[in-house]
Each structure stands twice: as C-alpha cells, then as structure tokens.
C-alpha cells in the first residue's frame, strides 16, 4: 500500500510539474507570436528547445548568449542592477531573453510587432515552470 501511495505521489508530481520541454511547448501555445525558443544553462547546456534541427539550435544558443553577454556588459558599464529581461527589435523580427536562477536563461524569437509585455510574461512563466519542474524531478529522485 505504501509503495502504491509513493507511486501515486510520484505520478502526481510528474503530472503537476512539467518538464523543460513541456514548458517550452506551453510557451509556443500561449504566445502564438513565438516561433522558436531555447532554454539554456550557462554558455551552452541546452535544457530544452523547440528546434528539430540541431544546427539551428546551436546557432541560436551561441548567438543569443552573445547578445545576452553584450547587453550585460553594457549594463555593467552603466552601474545598473542585474539584467533580468532583454527585448531586441530588429528589422526582421524580435528576440526576447529572460534570465533565471543558476545562470539559466530562455531565448525566444518572434516576427515583427509582437505584444512585448505578453511575450515577456509568458517567457518568464515558462522559465520558472521549467526550473520548478527540474527541481521537482531532482527532489523526487
């Protein structure tokens, strides 16, 4: 009985705490303007991605990391607090980067004219959900 209770509890945990991949899928469903997203730890440890092609994924991770570093560098030069979110509007679309705990960050691309506030909110939610899911999975091991 205890074993079945534990299994049930584990199933409940697994159901309530989505994985990083599920969090990104949810982001794509919630924000229809989001085309691609990657969830990364550090310089290139990919936790989840919406890409089917690993070359495109690697390209996005390295370029988004460069953008984040450049923004952090310029913010550091202005004696600002830590950078938490970044929105870049370019000619062909937009790039969103949100940062989380333990050097995790989520980068997403959209077309032109997205609803900036909503995309940032959804990206933050996806990042938090993914990290909570990761913590839950780590705790249940």
């Amino acid at each position: 009985m205890i074993a079945s209770h534990l299994t049930c509890k584990q199933n409940f945990k697994e159901k309530t705490l989505p994985t990083a991949k599920e969090a990104l899928q949810e982001l794509l469903e919630m924000s229809s303007s989001v085309r691609h997203a990657v969830l990364v730890r550090g310089a290139g440890d990919v936790l989840a991605s919406t890409f089917a092609n690993s070359d495109s994924e690697a390209g996005m991770v390295s370029m988004a990391r460069e953008i984040l570093e450049a923004a952090r560098e310029s913010a550091g030069g202005m004696d600002r607090a830590a950078l938490t979110q970044l929105f870049v509007e370019a000619k062909s679309g937009c790039v969103f980067i949100v940062t989380g705990e333990n050097d995790t960050w989520l980068a997403a691309t959209t077309g032109t004219d997205p609803t900036v506030g909503l995309v940032l909110y959804d990206a933050n939610t996806a990042l938090k959900t993914a990290l909570e899911g990761e913590l839950g999975a780590g705790g249940s091991k």
Binding site: R35, H36, F51, S56, G59, M60, M63, A64, E66, I67, A70, A71, S74, A75, M78, R80, A81, A82, L83, T84, Q85, L86, F87, V88, E89, A90, K91, S92, G93, C94, V95, T109, G111, T112, D113, V116, L120
Partner: protein, 68 residues
C-alpha cells in the same frame, strides 16, 4: 467657394492624420533594445542614438536570419 474651402480643409486634415500615423509607425518600428533590471528599472535605447543598441540589434538580425 465655402464648399471648396471646407473640402480643402477636410482633405488637409485627413492627409495630416495619415502622415502622422505613418511617421509614428516608422518611429515605433525602429530597431531598438529594451533592458529590464532586477531593481524594476528599464532602459530603452534605439539604434540611431546608441552604438550598443546598433551592435545588439545587428546581432539579433543575424540570429533571426539564421533561425526564421
């Protein structure tokens, strides 16, 4: 005569409104960077006035060309 003046005035107002709309859209669509910080502050810089913004938007353009 009065009708002609009214028509001219009306057309001028419509043209001004259209011009303003186009101008505002162009200003809004300029490449720009918005940074949000931990203390709740935000910094918006556009590429015409800042080298940092021009560099970052250039990098974003390269990224978008690769993935979109």
């Amino acid at each position: 005569m009065a009708r002609g003046r009214f028509f001219f005035g009306f057309m001028l107002s419509v043209a001004s409104a259209l011009g303003l709309t186009v101008l505002l859209r162009r200003i809004r669509r300029q490449p720009r960077v918005e940074m949000y910080f931990d203390d709740g502050s935000m910094l918006a810089i556009n590429s015409k006035t800042s080298d940092v913004s021009a560099r970052i938007t250039g990098m974003a353009d390269d990224l978008l060309k690769k993935v979109l």
